[in-house]
């Protein structure tokens, strides 16, 4: 990357960081709550992107990992009194194992069949969560009500205090940045190239010595772990988990966020998350009678205008503005 490019990125990044620190104090708590949800969904979509965007394995069932992460956090916080920040690594671990387990049969399935298998998983999860025998842990159909954690210190900016929502925003922001950095490191080097190779041409990749079984199942595990952390964070932010919170629609929303944001791109997750959080609300404002029809129209129009997602469009625009930068603008796109 050229040196002035790098300077621009640094300045841009700093401005963004300052803005992110100040904005929560300029808006109402309820808006901050919505921003928290955006951050949570961004991590979840990033997890999905690792699996589907970079590795080409379709998953319609990431809502299941989100649910497992959320319930892990909820059970730890409610039954065992574990502090909220400690539940995230545990949720990551639990979901990693689940991801590996699901990843194994996935090795044999491809394309539509894998989509069905993961769709089936997403559908089965609410029923599993309601199961009588584990009701003592999961709270059954009633779910588990959690307490929102308070900020550990007092702070006030622009006359607004550091409420639990604002504190959670900074916490989620830190977690999100951490996950994005981890993802970048994972995908930048050999591992990333191996995943993309497996996606684009599995036979050639195997012929080159890449161990398909190892990479594909590990990717499932890592992807599940990311989405599991998102689920745990989501449980803390919403302060409630119930089987009805994790229906098939959640998995479909993640997929929508993935494609709208853009496949195989880490920053894309944020755009996708903004879309699935705010566009339903916008659709609701436009039409009270059939808001989801408006949402569907939004989807189709978005796909028409940017078939490779927001990041795809941004990359195209960037490449047009800087023709000499075409070489480093194209990487990892399907």
């Amino acid at each position: 990357m050229k040196s002035y490019d790098r300077n621009w990125m640094l300045v841009g990044g700093l401005v963004l960081l300052v803005a992110l620190c100040v904005v929560p104090f300029l808006v109402k708590n309820f808006r901050v709550f919505q921003f928290n949800l955006v951050l949570v969904y961004a991590i979840a979509i990033l997890g999905l992107n690792i699996l589907t965007g970079f590795n080409g394995q379709f998953s319609l069932g990431h809502g299941a990992f989100y649910a497992i992460g959320a319930y892990t956090a909820a059970i730890l916080m409610d039954r065992f009194g574990v502090p909220y920040w400690a539940t995230l690594p545990v949720a990551a671990g639990v979901c990693f194992v689940f991801g590996l387990v699901i990843g194994f049969p996935a090795l044999r399935l491809a394309g539509h069949y894998l989509a069905l298998a993961t769709f089936a998983l997403a559908l089965a999860i609410p029923q599993l969560l309601k199961y009588r025998l584990i009701e003592g842990w999961t709270g059954g159909v009633q779910g588990i009500v959690l307490n929102k954690p308070d900020a550990p210190f007092e702070l006030a900016l622009f006359g607004q205090r550091l409420s639990p929502d604002r504190w959670l925003f900074f916490f989620s922001l830190a977690v999100t940045i951490l996950m994005f950095v981890i993802a970048r490191n994972l995908l930048a080097g050999r591992v990333g190239r191996a995943l993309i190779a497996i996606r684009d041409h599995p036979t050639a990749a195997a012929a080159m010595g890449i161990n398909l079984t190892y990479f594909k199942s590990l990717t499932f595990g890592v992807s599940a772990a990311f989405t599991g952390i998102a689920g745990a964070l989501g449980a803390v932010v919403v302060a409630f988990v119930a089987p009805d919170s994790f229906t098939v629609f959640l998995s479909i929303s993640f997929l929508v966020g993935l494609v709208v944001g853009g496949l195989a791109s880490i920053p894309a997750a944020v755009f996708g998350a903004i879309f699935i959080q705010f566009v339903p609300n916008i659709a609701d404002e436009i039409s009270k009678a059939a808001p989801w029809a408006i949402y569907g129209i939004f989807l189709i129009v978005f796909m028409y205008l940017m078939p490779t997602g927001v990041m795809g469009l941004l990359k195209k625009m960037w490449a047009r503005l800087r023709p000499t930068g075409a070489a480093d603008a194209a990487s990892g796109q399907p």
């Binding site: 559908l123 029809a293 939004f298 796909m303």
Partner: protein
């Protein structure tokens, strides 16, 4: 023993529903090589059209055939107008467009026809000669209709030039174009046919489960499972898959795991079968050259 038989027969009856939806899914897959998530909602919407015609006083069979024609045209138009721009787009983009269609149809149906359940008449009389305690008149009748549709479809693909052209266009669009087949129109006709079959499925399902905008959402998954289990490129397999799924689900719920985990276990089994036979029970194993 009687209870067991009854469960099996009941499963066959439910399986008939899944089979008809699976057939529509296979149809569209054969024509476009895409799994259409909006199939269920499209079928539901067309069933509402039939309902509206019946409310306006049309006799049953007139409304039935009019709906099939209307569905065909609707499917064709959707492909021509909405989906053509996405023919060259990546698979997932198409999937999102299907999801968009799904929510649009569901929401429109709810807005136009509202959400209370509506009874839908069955053309098969309750006391016909083939009615038994195990099968109601409609259940047998709808299985019969599904099999008829299957035969017509098979004959169409096997013995008519248009069917051959469609298969060619789906398998190898470039070569098909070279031979003079208008591939784009084949896709549109494929969609039209799939929509028509879907509407038949909807009209057969509605008398049993009652008509409302959320009628097909539960059935669609089982339809997918049936289609994939039987082999996504095999109409016979899809119908057989539907019956298998229906019976399996019933027997599991009644004898093995109880109703609380019925869905989970059924799905686990289906996925298990797919892991052993990745192309489905009767699907063609596609061998690709490297």
């Amino acid at each position: 023993m009687e209870g067991f038989l009854h469960q099996v027969f009941s499963g066959l009856a439910t399986g008939g529903i899944y089979a008809s939806v699976a057939l529509a899914l296979v149809m569209i897959y054969q024509a476009t090589h895409h799994l259409n998530f909006a199939q269920g909602e499209l079928a539901m919407f067309c069933t509402f059209i039939a309902w509206a015609l019946l409310q306006a006083g049309w006799p049953y069979w007139a409304a039935f055939f009019a709906t099939i024609c209307a569905s065909f045209i609707l499917g064709l138009l959707i492909q021509r107008i909405l989906l053509r721009p996405f023919e060259k787009a990546p698979v997932l983009t198409n999937v999102i467009v299907f999801i968009g269609l799904l929510v649009i149809f569901n929401s429109l149906a709810g807005w136009i026809f509202d959400y209370t359940i509506k009874p839908f008449p069955s053309p098969f009389p309750k006391d016909a000669w083939y009615v038994t305690e195990y099968f109601s008149g409609h259940e047998i009748g709808s299985v019969g209709v599904t099999l008829c549709v299957l035969l017509v479809l098979y004959a169409f693909f096997r013995f008519t030039p248009m069917g051959l052209a469609m298969r060619g266009a789906a398998q190898n669009p470039d070569s098909a174009r070279l031979v003079g087949i208008r591939v784009s129109w084949m896709l549109a006709v494929g969609w039209g046919l799939a929509a028509a079959i879907g509407s038949v499925a909807g009209m057969m399902v509605a008398p049993i489960v009652f008509l409302d905008p959320n009628m097909m959402s539960g059935i669609l998954l089982y339809g997918f499972a049936a289609a994939l289990l039987g082999g996504i490129d095999n109409p016979w397999g899809a119908v057989l898959g539907g019956f298998i799924v229906g019976v399996l689900e019933n027997l599991l719920g009644a004898y093995v795991i109880g109703t609380e985990l019925k869905l989970t276990v059924a799905l686990v089994l289906i996925v298990g079968v797919l892991t052993l036979k990745p192309s489905g029970l009767f699907g063609k194993v596609v061998v690709t050259r490297v």
